[in-house]
């Protein structure tokens, strides 16, 4: 029972990341009709907002190690600590959540520039060309990050108070041995909040209503005098922000490197397809579902019966679902049917 409970948590946690990326992908596809292979790179860019913010708040006086003469070796003393003492230490400690303040405007800008500068020229082009150009863009972004930050992962610690594990077993009456990292639980709640915010925005605001109407029938909305393209540009920027903040909050779980986005991109497309192209609810549901399935497939008991199943399970499930439901779990008729 313990093992099952913990794998459900693992799966939900993993699924939260899939769902957040897939949500942005679906939003862009549903509104602009663009298959955006650069979406994973936006997740990675968000993670590097956290890295950049940490570098800024830990700008330091470098105290030279005089014992070493062959090269410059030093120990760092951050200015914030020197100037503000404990307050400075707290800011540094909370650099990951605080970096969201940097990530939101930055990702909005990136999303806006990307859509206006490149993506809008490909609205009426075939999906294959959209994939090629966005994939190319993803590689360019990756290489820029590698040139500035190197290829090695860069550690981003969670705030000290949240660095340990919660005794989740005692919460559900499964004993004291069942622990789960606090930060992963926070990530799960955070993604729930972001998903809720996106749905609420689309469902309960006038702006969202217009966007939804545009997703259904762009021409009619245009005839009503609404500049739907402008609204879709904002939607693209919002999708970039969702990917970005997801990336920021994921850094304590997985130290980011330039390749982080690619690791999630392919899986996220599987999630989108399984959920149903253009279906926001489907993307979220499929994200969590596939996360949980993947976790269970990694259990030793399962692998003993089906060796290597953990590496193919997502694709296997996708094949089965698409055979039974060709439009995915919640796909709408007419979306990518041609």
């Amino acid at each position: 029972m313990d093992a099952i409970f913990i794998q459900i948590l693992n799966g939900l946690d993993k699924g939260a990341a899939y769902a957040l990326i897939a949500l942005g992908l679906t939003l862009v596809f549903g509104t602009l009709g663009i298959v955006n292979f650069a979406h994973g790179a936006l997740f990675m860019l968000g993670a590097f907002c956290a890295v950049t913010f940490q570098k800024l708040v830990t700008l330091s006086v470098k105290v030279r190690d005089e014992g070493i003469t062959a090269f410059v070796a030093y120990k760092e003393q951050p200015y914030l600590e020197t100037w503000f003492g404990d307050t400075g230490r707290i800011i540094i400690d909370y650099s990951v959540p605080l970096s969201i303040m940097l990530a939101i405007p930055f990702m909005l800008l990136v999303g806006y520039v990307m859509e206006r500068g490149l993506i809008k020229h490909f609205y009426k082009r075939p999906h294959a060309e959209q994939i090629l150009v966005t994939f190319g863009l993803a590689i360019v972004i990756q290489e820029i990050i590698k040139a500035y930050f190197g290829a090695n992962p860069i550690p981003q610690p969670a705030p000290e108070i949240l660095a340990g594990s919660a005794n989740v077993g005692s919460w559900v009456g499964l004993g004291n041995n069942l622990v789960y990292p606090w930060w992963r639980l926070i990530y799960l709640c955070f993604s729930g909040a972001v998903i809720f915010a996106v749905f609420a925005f689309l469902q309960f605001t006038t702006y969202g209503m217009v966007v939804r109407a545009g997703m259904r029938d762009r021409e009619t909305v245009g005839i009503l005098g609404i500049n739907i393209e402008r609204r879709f540009t904002i939607v693209f920027a919002i999708a970039a922000v969702v990917a970005g903040v997801a990336g920021v909050m994921y850094t304590p779980i997985l130290p980011p490197d330039y390749h982080l986005g690619m690791e999630f991109l392919v899986l996220s497309f599987v999630v989108v397809v399984v959920g149903g192209m253009g279906s926001l609810g489907g993307a979220v549901f499929a994200g969590f579902l596939l996360g949980v399935v993947q976790s269970f497939a990694s259990m030793n008991e399962v692998k003993e019966i089906f060796p290597g199943i953990d590496q193919i399970i997502l694709y296997l499930v996708a094949v089965v679902i698409l055979l039974v439901l060709p439009r995915g779990l919640m796909g709408r008729a007419g979306v990518m049917d041609d």
């Binding site: 090269f71 030093y74 090695n152 610690p157 069942l178 997985l254 953990d310």
Partner: protein, 450 residues
């Protein structure tokens, strides 16, 4: 006129005999330079230059390590050509290297990108051999790559001086006559680590292995398992994890209630950074199991890679081929030279690549030719010192170097950004030696048909 010849030797006869005698006496030295007039691939012949092929990961997850390897190679080329302070040329013995190139030819190089993928590494090695005309290929950061390139080099008749490769298979079942490894291997890590584990954690332990699912991971798991079981440890489980899994949570959580009190991470590079960081997040370091503190062991440690794990490496035991903090004459000369050139200490990958280049160059000097079979014979059984690991032997039977092995611990209180690993023990060479037949394989022929 008398026809009777005077007894004894005439002056002309003496001159003739002298000339013939001189010619015979001079024959060995006369022929030595071109004694191996056989045609061989990429023979530099009368060119004033020779070209070496540096095949390192310039892109992909090990690009930083590859960049450090390349820095070391460029430094080695400089030193071989008599530029810079000479580095380990000053400490390497016995050495015929004088800083005048190799056999009087200036050393140049060509580079390739392995991408840490076997097929890409083979393609770039092939390009360097066939298009750039390199005499020797060297480099790499993965055993899968090393084994693939080594096999190609055997087919092509080009010597391969491996970079960072730790799998027993490289000089075991997949060894090749044309392949040489200076780096230590998984067996040696196990042999060096076991006594320290015994001393630190005792002989009554239960270990759980997470292992990267490819040649290096398998052989490391086997070696560490054998070494720890010989101590009396019990192996609770061995679980293979996909390379580049990213999130290891689903593999780590079963450890919590497995009854194990030690987690052994047979991971390297990014996998090691991720699995170690996540194991610490799951509270394994604070955990008590079987009445003991739970421990994590990383059998192969790299300072360059360890940076990515941040504070998670503190206190973790492992082994390493070399560390810049060593105080022997050779290490100091290399660190001084590398530090002055690049402003940072060399990694263990850089060290092994630099040493391999010098060893190849010296073998050519010793052979008096670039003809690979003769160079190989010079490397086989070669004993040397002054390269940072104490007296070292390139064993003839499997082309594996034998030298002291370092057991290190993640530094609890680093004095600088480079001071991440602390050497806790230097295991003598004799303790890590083994019978070469245990890993099987065969070297293959000296002569290769072109």
């Amino acid at each position: 006129m008398s026809d009777i010849k005077k007894p004894g030797m005439s002056r002309r006869g003496l001159l003739k005999a002298g000339a013939v005698g001189g010619l015979v006496a001079a024959t060995p030295s006369f022929f030595i330079k071109d004694a191996w007039a056989q045609e061989f691939r990429n023979n530099p012949k009368n060119s004033g230059e020779l070209k070496l092929g540096f095949n390192v990961p310039q892109s992909g997850p090990y690009a930083d390590e590859g960049a450090d390897e390349l820095r070391a190679y460029m430094l080695a080329v400089k030193h071989l050509n008599g530029e810079g302070d000479g580095g380990m040329l000053n400490t390497f013995k016995p050495s015929m290297l004088t800083g005048n190139g190799v056999l009087g030819k200036k050393v140049t190089y060509s580079t390739g990108d392995t991408q840490t993928k076997s097929d890409a590494a083979r393609a770039s090695a092939k390009r360097m051999i066939e298009k750039d005309g390199v005499l020797m290929v060297t480099g790499g950061s993965s055993s899968g790559v090393a084994i693939a390139v080594q096999s190609l080099c055997q087919e092509q008749g080009i010597i391969f001086m491996a970079g960072l490769t730790h799998s027993n298979d490289t000089t075991g079942k997949d060894k090749r006559r044309y392949g040489f490894r200076h780096f230590f291997n998984a067996y040696m890590s196990g042999a060096a680590l076991a006594p320290v584990l015994n001393k630190e954690y005792g002989s009554d332990r239960r270990a759980y292995h997470l292992t990267a699912d490819y040649t290096w991971g398998w052989t490391q798991e086997e070696s560490i398992k054998n070494s720890t079981e010989a101590l009396g440890w019990e192996t609770v489980n061995t679980v293979k994890t996909p390379v580049g899994a990213g999130d290891f949570s689903q593999y780590i959580t079963p450890v919590l209630n497995s009854g194990a009190d030690v987690l052994i991470l047979n991971h390297y590079g990014k996998d090691m950074v991720n699995s170690l960081s996540q194991a610490v997040q799951f509270g394994l370091r604070e955990k008590q199991a079987n009445g003991k503190n739970f421990e994590i062991v990383v059998p192969l440690f790299s300072r360059l890679m360890a940076q990515g794990a941040g504070d998670a490496i503190k206190g973790i035991l492992g082994t390493t081929n070399w560390n810049w903090s060593l105080q022997d004459e050779g290490s100091q000369a290399f660190v001084q030279s590398f530090g002055a050139e690049y402003g940072a200490p060399p990694s263990m990958a850089a060290h092994t690549c630099y040493v391999q280049t010098l060893l190849y160059a010296n073998a050519c000097e010793m052979a008096g030719t670039f003809y690979p079979p003769e160079v190989i014979k010079q490397l086989e059984g070669f004993n040397f010192d002054g390269m940072g690991n104490g007296p070292t032997l390139y064993r003839a039977e499997d082309h594996q170097c034998f030298k002291d092995v370092l057991v290190v611990r993640g530094n609890e209180n680093p004095s600088s950004q480079f001071d991440l690993l602390k050497v806790v023990d230097i295991t003598p060479r004799a303790q890590v030696e083994y019978d070469w037949t245990i890993f099987g394989g065969s070297l293959g022929p000296y002569e290769v048909k072109m």
